[in-house]
């Protein structure tokens, strides 16, 4: 009956909703959907979850689980494109105001209909200070600064930004904000909600312990999902178990023995032996992390640009990519990774050229090299040691020191390190959340202590303009400056590798390790 006033932008979606429209049914097994094939799969996660409350986490494993319980206003497809999800459409009204129109007939797993009040509650809970039991949401910084949202009607609301912001930054952030039910949280409080989360996603929460396992079951009343994801109706699987298995070898042994079906965080070394196993499929996709050597530009020897350029010629990045990553990484030529749509294709990577490196070292006043400590964290130990070996060849005596990541970030930001092999995420796939924090003066990820007023103003301009062409030009300029100035040895962007059972159907690992399982089924289950 409600079908009568469905006015979705996507016609297909309305048809799909029919199958998922178990109406207001809640709980387990109430409505048998025609497309189900049943079965349980186990997904091995490399690290513990942080919370079941979508406002109180930052880590990827947490999002991998929550993205199956909750939906967002917009969703990023595995190919990187952002499409409407719980929003049926959105519209920019002026420089700072946006209207979001919601899909109708979407129900939470407790049976309540999704309304604009829920979305307002979610956005305010994240964007406004001290909203989660008196604490500020850990995800506040994913959204541009905004006023409390205004509800226009049951399925329409206005979002007002405090200052103009490019569309792609706002949408990239919204793709990470899971929509929660306002009434439920207002009634039972955030603590109770975090113990038993309820969303609109394809799977509902059954039980879980954050650092052990989380059990989800199929939500028969799922609205169907955005058509671009190719999802016909509710999930196929009966149950999904996310199991935290920090030891990769344990997880892989589970995969080969059949007790685990999907393993995240596979290292390149494992790929060859896994591919030899017919019961296993390996999928790799370009991840959004970037890895680079930050050089402290405020102190000798890296206060000289020749020395920094020499490092770029001396470290054989291609060799690291080919051997240590077994080719499972994309080389960076400048500060923006190749997968970004803002990547400046005119830049050519620094060549591996020890002779040129020696010439630059001499030109910069260090003809006999110097001694150097490369500080890094355990995941990049091998790469750092390979780089140290390369540096020996140009007369730089390099050793490697390992730290826990928090300690190293702190010390590097305090200017206590010469060269640090660090990583920075770029889940927005937009220079905004990569360049601003890592190259803006005094920012949280500026490990090179780089400060360039011109870069600062270009970054600020690009982050506030709504003119895409101008932003692209600004970012291109920044890339050229940074390429020349070389505060980093430009590194690589690793691919993410996952291994799964060959019996899986429809399995396509999502971006940022998001494991969207709605269209996955098990052969022969």
């Amino acid at each position: 009956m409600k079908r009568a006033w469905i006015t979705f932008v996507f016609v297909v979606a309305s048809v799909l909703t029919l199958t998922g429209c178990g109406g207001g049914q809640t709980g387990s097994g109430a409505g048998a959907a025609p497309t189900r094939s049943g079965g349980t799969i186990v997904v091995a996660l490399p690290a513990s979850l942080e919370s079941y409350d979508p406002a109180m986490y930052r880590s990827r494993p947490t999002e991998a689980v929550l993205a199956n319980i909750f939906d967002e206003l917009v969703v990023r497809l595995p190919n990187g494109r952002i499409v409407p999800d719980l929003a049926s459409s959105y519209q920019q009204l002026d420089a700072t105001r946006w209207r979001f129109t919601l899909r109708r007939n979407v129900r939470f797993q407790n049976g309540q209909l999704l309304t604009a009040d829920d979305v307002k509650f979610t956005l305010d809970r994240v964007s406004q200070p001290n909203q989660v039991d008196g604490k500020t949401s850990l995800r506040q910084s994913l959204l541009p600064a905004m006023d409390p949202a205004t509800v226009e009607g049951p399925s329409s609301l206005i979002v007002t930004l405090k200052s103009p912001s490019p569309a792609d930054i706002l949408l990239a952030g919204l793709a990470h904000i899971q929509i929660v039910p306002a009434k439920l949280i207002n009634g039972e409080g955030s603590t109770a909600f975090a113990a038993h989360p309820v969303g609109t996603g394809p799977f509902e929460f059954v039980a879980g312990q954050l650092d052990d396992e989380t059990v989800l079951q199929r939500f028969p009343g799922y609205w169907g999902g955005p058509p671009q994801l190719g999802v016909p109706g509710p999930a196929r699987l009966d149950r999904v178990v996310f199991k935290v298995i920090p030891e990769l070898s344990s997880a892989l042994a589970g995969l080969t023995s059949g007790s685990v079906q999907i393993v995240q965080g596979v290292t390149p070394d494992q790929v060859r032996s896994l591919k030899a196993n017919p019961a296993v499929v390996v999928k790799s996709y370009q991840d959004t992390n970037t890895v680079w050597f930050a050089m402290n530009v405020a102190k000798p020897p890296f206060d000289r640009v020749q020395i920094r350029q020499a490092m770029n010629h001396a470290i054989n990045i291609n060799s690291i990519v080919n051997h240590i990553y077994d080719g499972q990484a994309a080389r960076m030529t400048g500060p923006v990774p190749p997968f970004s749509s803002y990547y400046d294709t005119s830049l050519k990577p620094y060549s591996y050229d020890p002779a040129e490196a020696k010439r630059l070292l001499a030109a910069g006043g260090y003809p006999n090299g110097f001694s150097l400590v490369i500080d890094t964290t355990a995941p990049y130990q091998d790469a750092a040691e390979a780089a140290a070996q390369d540096l020996q060849k140009v007369g730089v005596t390099a050793t490697v020191r390992l730290w826990d990541v928090t300690a190293l970030r702190q010390a590097t930001l305090a200017g206590q390190r010469q060269m640090a092999l660090m990583s920075w995420g770029n889940s927005f796939r937009h220079p905004f959340d990569l360049l601003n924090p890592t190259l803006g003066s005094g920012q949280r990820g500026n490990f090179a202590d780089y400060s360039n007023p011109q870069v600062d103003s270009l970054l600020a301009a690009a982050a506030t303009t709504t003119d895409h062409a101008k932003a692209a030009a600004d970012y291109a300029k920044v890339q050229q400056i940074i390429y020349q100035d070389a505060p980093w040895v430009f590194g690589w962007a690793p691919k993410a590798i996952e291994a799964g059972s060959a019996r899986l159907r429809g399995w396509q690992p999502g971006p940022d390790g998001m494991e969207l399982l709605v269209h996955v089924s098990m052969n022969g289950a």
């Binding site: 001290n130 030891e247 928090t406």
Partner: protein, 336 residues
């Protein structure tokens, strides 16, 4: 006399606990970086203003002495603080992990005592035999083996190559019975769930063997030497002469007395077992207190680390007390 001794022991234990609490509090604050930095991690654009606000909402902007005073004040009310990572009371988080650790410790102890007792007694009775020498060599090997390596070796052989036993974790995914005790073996029995029971037992074997091996080696050696001492004493000969069977003489007379030194060693080993389980729990992905402690240090989850250290110290104190009490039970001559 006994009361005052006990009283002063308790007082000094309390003082030691207080010192440990303050010490671990300061050590954690001394580590570079704070929990907010850790949680935000290496991604995202966060303005300095947002960062300050976040820190303030976790009270991390207060000076350390004030934080310490607040912490000690809360501690008096039995509140060890809030886990920043899990957004819940740290005591809850630790209690959730306790059953896993306790279950593993119990299993390791059963394994160690179960093997060490007959081994030690037999080696003493047949001293000098090839069996004795073999047992002795084995016990030397046991104390020379780093736990993490033994764990890896066992995983390689029994889990990866033979595939007899699981690689890690407490249970097959999804096979964990829900409550009520948190001890999976007990829960499975209570729920009459044979699959879960089999799964829980299978997962326990390798970690328990790894953890129990050192205790097994030490216990069997101590038991052997104290048994030898007792067997040489006159009362055993007397018991035999009175017509007691040899078995009765060994078990009822000699073993009872030989147990006293073993209990001390057992207690000390149990302490190491609980304090040293971080490595074994890490190797086997065992979701216990040890693994929680390690990950909480890296996460700068101050309250959880403080709570775990307090728990360890408390356990240590209780074990020492129990050792002393068990003396009086086993040997009527000792009283305290």
């Amino acid at each position: 006399m006994r009361i005052t001794t006990l009283g002063s022991r308790l007082l000094s234990t309390l003082l030691v606990m207080l010192a440990i609490t303050i010490f671990v509090f300061l050590v954690m604050r001394w580590l570079p970086g704070d929990p907010v930095d850790r949680i935000l991690g290496g991604s995202g654009q966060v303005s300095q203003q947002q960062l300050r606000a976040l820190r303030a909402s976790y009270h991390l902007d207060q000076p350390v002495p004030l934080q310490l005073v607040n912490f000690l004040g809360d501690l008096l009310h039995g509140d060890i603080g809030e886990s920043v990572v899990y957004n819940r009371p740290a005591s809850q988080v630790i209690l959730e992990h306790l059953p896993a650790t306790a279950e593993l410790a119990v299993a390791a102890t059963f394994f160690a005592i179960g093997v060490a007792a007959p081994l030690g007694v037999a080696a003493a009775v047949w001293r000098g035999s090839w069996f004795d020498r073999l047992a002795s060599a084995g016990s030397y090997l046991g104390i020379s083996m780093p736990g993490f390596w033994l764990g890896i070796a066992l995983i390689l052989v029994f889990a990866v190559h033979l595939r007899w036993l699981p690689v890690g974790g407490r249970a097959d995914p999804g096979a964990e019975p829900a409550g009520p005790t948190g001890f999976l073996v007990l829960d499975a029995i209570l729920h009459l769930d044979l699959t879960a029971l089999a799964s829980a037992l299978a997962h326990l074997i390798l970690p328990a063997v790894t953890m129990g091996s050192v205790m097994l080696a030490v216990l069997s050696r101590v038991l052997r030497s104290s048994m030898i001492e007792e067997l040489d004493k006159e009362y055993v000969a007397l018991a035999l002469a009175k017509g007691a069977s040899r078995r009765r003489a060994i078990v009822c007379h000699a073993l009872r007395n030989a147990l006293i030194p073993s209990v001390t060693v057992f207690g000390l080993e149990l302490g190491t077992l609980l304090g040293g389980n971080m490595v074994v729990e890490t190797v086997f992905g065992w979701p216990g207190v040890g693994q929680l402690a390690v990950s909480s240090i890296f996460a700068r989850d101050y309250a959880v680390v403080q709570g775990v250290v307090l728990l360890y110290a408390l356990t240590f104190a209780v074990i020492n007390l129990l050792i002393d009490i068990s003396y009086t039970k086993l040997d009527p001559r000792v009283s305290f």
